[in-house]
Amino acid sequence: MLSFVCRRLFFAVILLFVVSAFTYVIFAALPSDPAALTCGKNCRPEVIAQNRVRLGYDKSIPEQYGNFLKGIVSGRTYGAGEGVHCPAPSLGYSFRKHQCVTDLITRTLPVTASVALGAFVLWMLIGIGLGTMAALKRGRWPDRLATGFSVIGISLPTFFIGLLGIMVFVIWTGLLPFPRYEGITADPAKWFMSLILPWFTLAVVSASSYIRLTRNGILEVMNEEFVRLGLAKGLKRRTLIVKYVMRAALLPIVTIAGLDFAALLGGAVITESVFSLPGMGKLSIMAVNDSDLSILVATTLVAATFIVIANALVDILYGFLDPRVRTY
């Protein structure tokens, strides 16, 4: 088991390098000129040329990538004169935002993580709860209710659900204040209040597929021979559902949930936009609008890192949960 974990982690590290190199090269290969983006609208060709040299964009792409990695390890100084120094781990400097990219990420990540974590807990509860209920009461009203809920969640866009939430709970009824994000350490109550709507919006959308996954998974497992054998042994229905059915049915959901959660950590773009949450998704959108490559490389990389890590963790977790996956 230990060797399995080690092997999986080693593979994840390799993959991270490949992903980072790949990301860097892709963005470097874009036709837009990062040097031209460093000096706004008063850019003259000679200024652009100076900045290109100063920022190392005149170097070959592998060399640039090398410098980028160096920046992560030991920090880097950007710009003219004394310039601006970004301490390690430096993911770059944004001349559009006038800030070290690492600072931008560390500021936006907690927001996204807050959104993601709460939404994740909610949608797993809703998804698995309603999915299980639907499977156990198959064909009866709880099933129809859960399936109907999931159809609505899947067919309505996040944007619409979010706006609807704002309209109903903020503007029409005034039950909730307009969500303005506040850090959990600064004001836990405000933090919570500002996230209720985003959590529910994301949860409704994401829970939908989990309702289906859970429902279908449970129904499928219920027809498995080993469940019938469990019943034939004399196991109680409740024991059977928890110990036999749920465990087997939820296992594949662990994988999907892990990856979904990781993807969300890379930025819940639409939800963050609707609720104006200053998270990573919003940061990426800003960067796209500004053609700010320094940020885009970093957010892409961070998002990819989460996915790679989640993938490895899910695999390892799977090894613990499913004896068939373990390799001795």
Partner: protein, 584 residues
């Protein structure tokens, strides 16, 4: 700025660059320049928090040297950034009158108008209590020269006007000699009270130039170069308490500002919270609902087209809605090198279906057809221009008149006629969803008189760079004045020295006379006479059809029901935010 970006995409098609030069959204204080809210202190209870809702993810800039657009200039100027001169804080035309701010008066020029002197007031301080001295202003101005750092986005007047010997790369990388040369061009008196600007050429309205925030003081010890824009040092009645991109800018009262030293600002508020990154549709819904804190709210941006009807047809919004020119004029530049034929240029103007274009862009709310390059907000300089004979005032094409011009061109300039009808004219414009629709109106309406249009959609962020290197035959652009003088319009757009002239009209034999007239206007110190000259030169451009005006664009807005004194400050085309107060 994002709103301006949107405007560009929608109507004024130009680069970021062009968008960044002047006025912004909203209402006019004068009935003549659009409906708006009245300027009054009545009913205001001092204190409270004003909220500003904004779709964009952050302030364009807080660094004074990097500010260019009207709304930003007005906002920061009225709150945290003082300049030597400023504008009268009042609605209507009087608001464009220059008054002294940090200086004791509006400046003294030398006989030849190449040297300007300003004396600083007593008791003016930064937020830390330090006195503002000449060095601070000189240092601030020097930052606009650092084009790779703090001089990357603001106006370049200091660079083009100041008589600095040799190259000066700004304070961050200058050698001692270079710095000395700069300090010779901008002199400080021994006591630090008097600042003297030495100019390359006579500039009669240089005291307007120094009202730009690029001439605002920055304490050298507190300068953080690229990062200064995140936490600038205030000289005004407010100061930045916190600023988080994508979230909020919070300004509170500056305890070291005193009313006695400031004739421009009269603050009522305790706090201003500028909230970023909101969905435009959400902003509209909140403003329409007018609940809770939203009653103490203004919007940076405009009402979404789909909500205009609701807001403008329901009388309950009468006290809260605004509708006015945003200071911009959209126009089409014509490359005189490629189209050296007046008849073809006039035919183009006559044949273009401006009404169809406006309808496609959103109808009359988006603007009125322009008859000048000088915006009506430049109240002193604007006068209705005389357009080409036969041009329909309702914006519809006059195919007959256009065809007559084309027929005449066939005789007078057959080469150009052939070029326009056979090879076709390359039309440069910014790429957008709207333009994808508009282009067919161009092609069809000009095709009616045989002019072929070759569509050349350019990615908006690269628009300026592209047409700078390779100008097309026709180029779409938008412009707004940098201050209330057409000196920032006519020379900038149509002289060879101007920053944004892509028409290459200096190739035209008619250019020499024009240039002479412009130079005359530039040096004219009598403002009324100067205005007359700008009107004449503007008319000259219309007559020569070096460019063809499109629309004076408009913007609409709502304010919260407890917001008072939100008049439009004409020089900036936005509210005098620092002067806004809240009703109980």
């Amino acid at each position: 700025m994002s709103h301006q970006k949107k405007l560009i995409g929608a109507f004024i098609v130009g680069a970021l660059l062009l968008a960044a030069c002047g006025g912004s959204s909203s209402d006019g204080g004068d009935a003549a320049v659009g409906g708006g809210l009245s300027a009054t202190d009545e009913g205001i209870k001092d204190g409270g928090t004003l909220f500003i809702l904004d779709h964009s993810t952050g302030a364009t800039n807080l660094d004074p040297q990097r500010i260019y657009t009207g709304a930003d200039l007005g906002f920061l100027g009225s709150t945290i950034t003082r300049t030597l001169t400023s504008y009268t804080p009042i609605a209507g035309k009087k608001g464009t009158e220059l008054i002294a701010d940090l200086a004791t008066d509006t400046g003294t020029p030398s006989e030849d108008v190449k040297t300007w002197n300003f004396t600083l007031r007593d008791g003016v301080t930064f937020e830390d209590g330090a006195a503002i001295v000449c060095d601070d202003i000189r240092y601030g101005v020097s930052r606009t020269f650092a084009s790779e750092m703090t001089g990357d986005e603001g106006p370049l007047y200091a660079k083009s006007m100041l008589d600095v010997a040799g190259e000066y790369p700004g304070p961050y990388t200058a050698t001692a000699d270079q710095q000395a040369a700069f300090e010779k061009a901008v002199e400080c008196s021994e006591d630090g009270k008097t600042i003297t600007f030495h100019l390359k050429n006579p500039v009669a309205d240089f005291n307007y130039t120094v009202a730009l925030l690029s001439f605002a003081p920055v304490p050298k010890a507190k300068d953080t170069a690229d990062k200064y824009t995140l936490k600038p040092v205030s000289s005004g009645p407010f100061m930045v308490q916190s600023y988080e991109e994508g979230k909020e800018l919070v300004m509170v009262r500056n305890p070291n500002w005193n009313q006695d030293s400031d004739p421009v600002r009269k603050p009522h508020l305790d706090e201003i919270r500028w909230q970023f990154g909101l969905e435009e549709s959400v902003i509209d819904e909140r403003m329409i609902a007018d609940a809770g804190d939203d009653q103490m709210t203004i919007v940076y941006g405009t009402i979404q087209p789909e909500n205009l009807q609701t807001v403008f047809e329901d009388p309950k919004f009468a006290d809260r809605r605004t509708d006015g020119f945003d200071g911009f004029v959209s126009y089409t530049m014509i490359n005189i090198k490629k189209v050296p034929c007046l008849e073809v240029r006039q035919a183009f103007w006559l044949a273009l279906d401006r009404e169809a274009l406006r309808t496609a862009a959103g109808g009359p709310y988006t603007g009125v057809f322009a008859d000048s390059f000088i915006n009506p907000l430049l109240a002193v300089d604007y006068t209705p221009g005389t357009v080409t004979e036969g041009l329909n005032v309702d914006g519809t094409p006059n195919v007959e008149a256009a065809q007559a011009k084309m027929d005449a061109a066939k005789v007078s300039c057959p080469e150009v006629h052939k070029y326009a009808t056979e090879q076709g004219l390359r039309f440069d414009h910014g790429q957008s969803d709207l333009w994808a629709k508009l282009i067919s109106i161009w092609i069809d309406s000009l095709g009616a008189v045989g002019i072929k249009i070759i569509d050349n959609a350019i990615e908006p962020s690269k628009y300026y760079a592209t047409i700078n290197q390779d100008p097309g035959d026709l180029m779409r652009a938008g412009w707004a004045a940098d201050w209330n003088n057409a000196s920032t319009v006519v020379p900038e757009l149509f002289t060879k020295e101007g920053g944004f002239n892509y028409s290459q009209n200096w190739e035209d034999p008619a250019y020499a006379a024009f240039s002479e007239q412009v130079n005359l206007a530039k040096g004219e110190t009598d403002r009324v006479k100067q205005a007359k000259l700008w009107q004449e030169t503007n008319q000259y451009v219309l007559d020569q059809a070096w460019a063809v005006p499109g629309s004076f664009t408009k913007a609409q807005n709502l304010v919260g029901s407890r917001v008072r004194n939100a008049y439009q400050w004409l020089p900036f085309g936005w509210y005098n935010v620092g002067a806004i107060g809240l009703a109980e």
